[in-house]
Assembly symmetry: C3
Amino acid sequence: MFDEKLARKAAINLKALRAQKPLIHNITNFVVMNFTANALLAFGASPVMAHAPEEVEEMVSFAGALVLNIGTLTHPWVDAMLMAGKKANELGTPIVLDPVGAGATAFRTATAKKLTDTLSISVIRGNASEVLSLAGEDSQTKGVDAVHGVDEAEGAALALSQKLDATLAITGPVDLVTDGKRVLRVFNGHERMGNVTGTGCTATALIGAFLAVDGDSLEATATALATYGLAGEEAASESKGPGSFHPALLDALFNLNSEKLEKKIRIKI
Amino acid sequence: MFDEKLARKAAINLKALRAQKPLIHNITNFVVMNFTANALLAFGASPVMAHAPEEVEEMVSFAGALVLNIGTLTHPWVDAMLMAGKKANELGTPIVLDPVGAGATAFRTATAKKLTDTLSISVIRGNASEVLSLAGEDSQTKGVDAVHGVDEAEGAALALSQKLDATLAITGPVDLVTDGKRVLRVFNGHERMGNVTGTGCTATALIGAFLAVDGDSLEATATALATYGLAGEEAASESKGPGSFHPALLDALFNLNSEKLEKKIRIKI
Amino acid sequence: MFDEKLARKAAINLKALRAQKPLIHNITNFVVMNFTANALLAFGASPVMAHAPEEVEEMVSFAGALVLNIGTLTHPWVDAMLMAGKKANELGTPIVLDPVGAGATAFRTATAKKLTDTLSISVIRGNASEVLSLAGEDSQTKGVDAVHGVDEAEGAALALSQKLDATLAITGPVDLVTDGKRVLRVFNGHERMGNVTGTGCTATALIGAFLAVDGDSLEATATALATYGLAGEEAASESKGPGSFHPALLDALFNLNSEKLEKKIRIKI
């Protein structure tokens, strides 16, 4: 059955997040900035978006985690990501990467690889197609949507995790999280999350929030995804479509509490 | 009365869209990116936003349509639009243009003209003031809002349509769509759509979605506007203001189906 | 008790805004663009976002007010703010500045100072930490969140207001507004506004809307903040969390009327 220790860990992480309200520094895409910021606030973190070369090093030095997302990338943004990332590495601040659309264009695949080659990344979260493309396997990404299933990418995720010494998370109907040794599966979530733009990007940001309070990247990632997935389940039951799902998801994130998490988190080892 | 064949065509287009889920490549403004992406998803398409010169040609080569919107333009974005547009023309991929704010500043008017001079555009959708300014008539645009009525611009739309060999759509209380020969009028819609930012931009994106599945630009445009307008009518009846209208509009788009469309689409030839 | 004259002034300003629908030119951050535009529309103004050097001077020449917000600043955006601001000064068009994150990084503090040194600004709205940093006092800003209380910053606000000949507004549980001589306190508002990103930025934009119709900067600012706060109170009573609060806030702004304002505006001199 589902792991009780990890359900408790989710509750502990949420409590710590709300007590500490760590600054989460995001260099992310234009489409999801507002949703991501609101989700981080509802979760309990203090989000900031900053991408100017003049300030990213200073900003990340106050942050509990750095979130890098290549969703609407251009060269100056990639440079800012590298600057902020190097500073984060110096300070031991965890970095989470969302390789949006890797596999869809050569520029995205190359950028994702440049980031993983240059920086020490704690966690990478993507869909199966993105993770396959990062692993150098022949993969296709349709714009920013996956055309491969999570299980297809398990081998690639394990290998990539070992190679990069990073936690890999592939999200889909069931999420897979691995640090190259252990494999966790997260069963929380709802298909409606796939009907709203930026739900994947937001998952990545919430992983950043838990990384700021939990030194175990694998558990921080799995508990963040499960907690977010649980909010998605609650929001789905209150909504009539993707439009009403969006505010309901933020409400659900905001109204999460330890009791709910201990009862309803569904992670398997 | 309303044309039954076009009501059926709307239903057919929606079905085809949901079966094929074509990638719609958007180079659009910062204000509406999130809403546009969510509306395309709710409609049934697969949206992507990409504007880097390194990737726009590659991205558009996978797309069923290219949506260009000059709402928060700067020179690098215009260059990206031209690159993506030329590639789309090469591949025969339809382009839809939203000349947001043409007539308001010389830069916007000149950019819209540069795009229409350089590229072969399938459809242009704007408000009456924007279309008048593109036709070179003395027009004013108040920021991004029309100060002219749709009927005032009918002559300009017909002339411009013939000159550019493009379908022209002027949206307003009743939308006018012409390919320079035929003129269609779309009666679906609700005034509340004017109280929310980006509803025009989103109309343009949804036209892109139908262009990806319907080779007849005039009919694709009119049926997209009517289908969107119908969703607007349903959303208005469920909302208390522009705030609740926004999620209700996405829900309504998502919950559209063939039966509703065949009954409630109101287009006149 | 609360000032009745200012409650009536709020009603007068809202009426004038809706009659005149002035164009409000925003050069603002990526996170809040959509929310700000929708809030201005719901309030009764006509928002436009434009930041290209080729058009900001022309665009601001049609505007009733210019809103500058440094939330996701880079150098080209700062240059556009300076260009638009100089033109606004030439034309006597009021400028409102939101120094988002001043105090958090040297770049933001320096930019905010450059803007206030170069331009004649009518109103500056920030949180206590941002205002303290502008006043040159030792302050800290946690990303974009205040770590100081409003009353701590009263002295700094008065001094800065006199030095810059500008109205200063510090928002928090109770907002403080001063022109260097008079001090007004605004009691409308709801703590939930702190759970949604961009509510401060939106307050700044709505001040811009009232500045376009009210030549008294102090009163325009206080009545805008009180009117917005009242909408926040109504939205809070209709929402279950920050997600549903967001659309409810836009609905409430849209549904405000003179009677409500005269009864419920709470400003003290």
